[in-house]
Symmetry: C2
């Protein structure tokens, strides 16, 4: 039976008592960003809760209570998986209808009034200060689909693909929290690929795309020269977010030889605001896609159920008169339905590979999975795949069509694990609207 | 005539009064890292100097005096170019033999004893907390040499090369200060490139290389979606360091398709400890290499003398009985002599291109120039070029030879601008020793 809270948690809420994701909030009254958890349609301000004795029945956290007054979750994350587990479990007991400590919050009217805030009234911020951001390419269906467009199905995957989790270093400064508008980037593109010599045109991007991904935050790093073992890598995982790695396909096509994507990817990457702790996803482990290649020892993971059963959906909302992103309805088409289990490489494998060179991983580092796609039509995580490189258009509601994103288009990603409508473990949404390019 | 200091500055010192580079130091007595400047064979502890009224004759800095007690130069950098100029000029007057303020330091025995430390007795730290690190590819001779090895001289440069400064996002966490040993990385490599199918071997890197670069620190960023104009980009430049972007060529060859270098580059990047402020290099401006391509407007820089005349040298010291890196002599061969002017793209152009997508640049971001090579033998900034991809060996002193680096090899990069031995503007050294791979 689902855990039940004394706070109202509507059926279908992503933020059930089984979840309790962590984020950073502020509101009009208290502008300093501070940690919170989300439950139902509310947030519990952990700074206020902690200052008012909320953690008094959790003596082990006593010396670390300051982490709940910081402007990011980095210090909390740095306390490690056992502490996250203990704190989440304690907060579940505080919020449970059968709480053993009713005086701490449930029956403490003053503290309830000051520390419980409607999600509608809070602003969310980046949950962690990101050290480095790395984007992997572990969604094998996406890699195959894209590779097929360029090289045909026989040579779709590069020879290294099944031997190691391919990745590139991304741009940490351009990672933004859900709700932040993204300006269409300018860049150099080749309008006529057949022309010789190639002369670029400088223009707002014409092939603006999305990439549906999962993101993972690191809570335990390694010293330079040391490594992270694939079978102990779970200890390094703080939690997960949804991610949209906006991509300028035409800019990418011209710039990426020979060092990889650069400006095509560094104008914005959106993540969801609430970090679902690794422990909250434990019940949803499933086996990832099969890799028939014999792996190097350092990538052999004992845990076979190494990825998560998370239903993912992407909505495209076209411009309407509604002023806010969230309020735009009626013009929304769900363009992608897939699942986070569509990965050839697990996050522990990504971590192990990342650190195998001796590369320092730090608390707050963000790793992206790479685009997650299924194999069927309507399950792909990028427009480029859905429109077969540009050959077909995507049909939207009301007879509208799209190939790439137009100004005013809003992309909203949702992700949720679980079947019981009363105990879902979801990510909320990861939303961004494309604003026009800023003219020169 | 050269500025003269009342502190001893030996002939040929990189740290003349005309320089005054900034760094972060600690010593056995005061372990908290703090800002300092280098002069001759000494460091002036700016924290101590500031606390003891040293800046009392510079009223404009009064409200910002705290920046000299921080653990990095980020806050000082954020004050902007005019303040850096003012502070450096003031410190020159304090240290000048004809100082108008002798009581502040020159004749203040107690403060001299506490704030002036021999460089031999201090530990240097990373000068800034690095936000993001980006590595460019602006050394056109290097790009040509490498491209020739892979594709022949006709197709050496990719079509985009002269249209935009190619770059990739690097790994900020692996940037270390001069003197930090680098462990040889493990990685997947292809031992026999002719075999089909390709099966990687997991091994310590066998083709460990260097990349001689200049690094630049950003002191003024841009908001997301905004840009940095190429002709105002100088305002965003705090200063410069030497850089060695250690590279595992065999790892790179296998991993880099299709997203660029990853583990081949993220196990260590060494920078020199002292940041030479942008203003200190102003007298050494020269014209860069000619780019005959018609550039997009956003890359057209009015300042033609857009790069600097900095003599660069690379020493390779092979293992000997001397215990410290610096003390190893006799076994040293200068393997590269070149100049920092060998760039097709200037740092203002790199900044303008980086931000043209709307990518956020932040104080403390580090940009690398890419490998700097001349066109003659003995002027190339990587071993791969010098050994023509592996065809020839590099001759060292005492009949030794090298293709790639062996364990115990030490690489020391030096860079210096100016002709007058009494007023050189140099970078000191950028040193790293290869330690054996840590076994699994």
């Amino acid at each position: 039976m689902a855990l039940q809270s004394w706070l109202p948690v509507p059926k279908g809420s992503h933020f059930s008592l089984a979840n309790l994701p962590f984020g950073i909030i502020s509101n009009s009254k208290l502008r300093t960003p501070r940690p919170a958890i989300a439950i139902g349609e509310d947030a519990l301000d952990l700074s206020d809760f902690a200052k008012n004795g909320g953690f008094s029945e959790l003596p082990s956290i006593k010396d670390h209570i300051g982490v709940f007054s910081e402007r990011s979750l980095n210090s909390f994350a740095a306390l490690g998986r056992p502490v996250h587990r203990e704190v989440r479990s304690y907060l579940q007991s505080i919020l449970s209808i059968a709480t053993p400590y009713p005086s701490l919050l449930k029956d403490n009217q003053a503290l309830k009034e000051s520390s419980i805030l409607s999600l509608k009234d809070v602003t969310t911020h980046l949950p962690l200060e990101i050290g480095d951001y790395t984007d992997f390419f572990a969604g094998v269906n996406h890699a195959f689909n894209i590779g097929t467009l360029f090289r045909g199905p026989e040579n779709a995957l590069q020879p290294n693909y099944t031997h190691l989790p391919v990745a590139y270093h991304g741009r940490a400064s351009s990672v933004v929290v859900s709700g932040t508008p993204i300006h269409r980037p300018y860049g150099q593109i080749i309008v006529d690929p057949a022309a010789t010599p190639k002369v670029p045109t400088f223009t707002p991007c014409r092939r603006l795309d999305i990439e549906l991904e999962m993101g993972m935050f690191v809570c335990k790093g390694n010293k330079m020269g040391k490594r992270i073992g694939v079978n102990s890598a779970e200890d390094s995982i703080f939690g997960y977010v949804l991610m949209n790695d906006w991509s300028a396909r035409d800019v990418q096509m011209w710039e990426y030889v020979p060092l990889g994507p650069f400006n095509a990817k560094n104008f914005g990457t959106t993540i969801s605001a609430w970090v679902v702790l690794a422990d909250a996803l434990e019940p949803f482990r499933v086996t990832g896609l099969e890799n028939k290649t014999t792996l190097q020892e350092y990538l052999r993971q004992e845990q076979k159920e190494s990825v998560f059963d998370i239903a993912l959906e992407v909505d495209l909302t076209i411009m309407c008169l509604a002023k806010s992103m969230e309020a735009a309805n009626g013009n929304t088409t769900t363009i992608t339905r897939t699942n986070a289990c569509n990965l050839l490489w697990s996050f522990p494998q990504m971590l192990a590979h990342h650190a195998v060179s001796g590369c320092t991983m730090r608390v707050g580092d963000l790793l992206g999975s790479g685009t997650i796609s299924g194999t069927e039509s309507g399950t792909q995580g990028s427009l480029l795949e859905q429109i077969q490189g540009g050959k077909v258009a995507l049909k939207l509601n009301h007879g509208e069509e799209r190939k790439f994103l137009q100004d005013g288009d809003t992309i909203s990603i949702r992700g949720v694990a679980g079947q019981d409508e009363n105990s879902l473990v979801g990510f909320g949404s990861c939303v961004g609207r494309i604003d026009p390019a800023i003219p020169f």
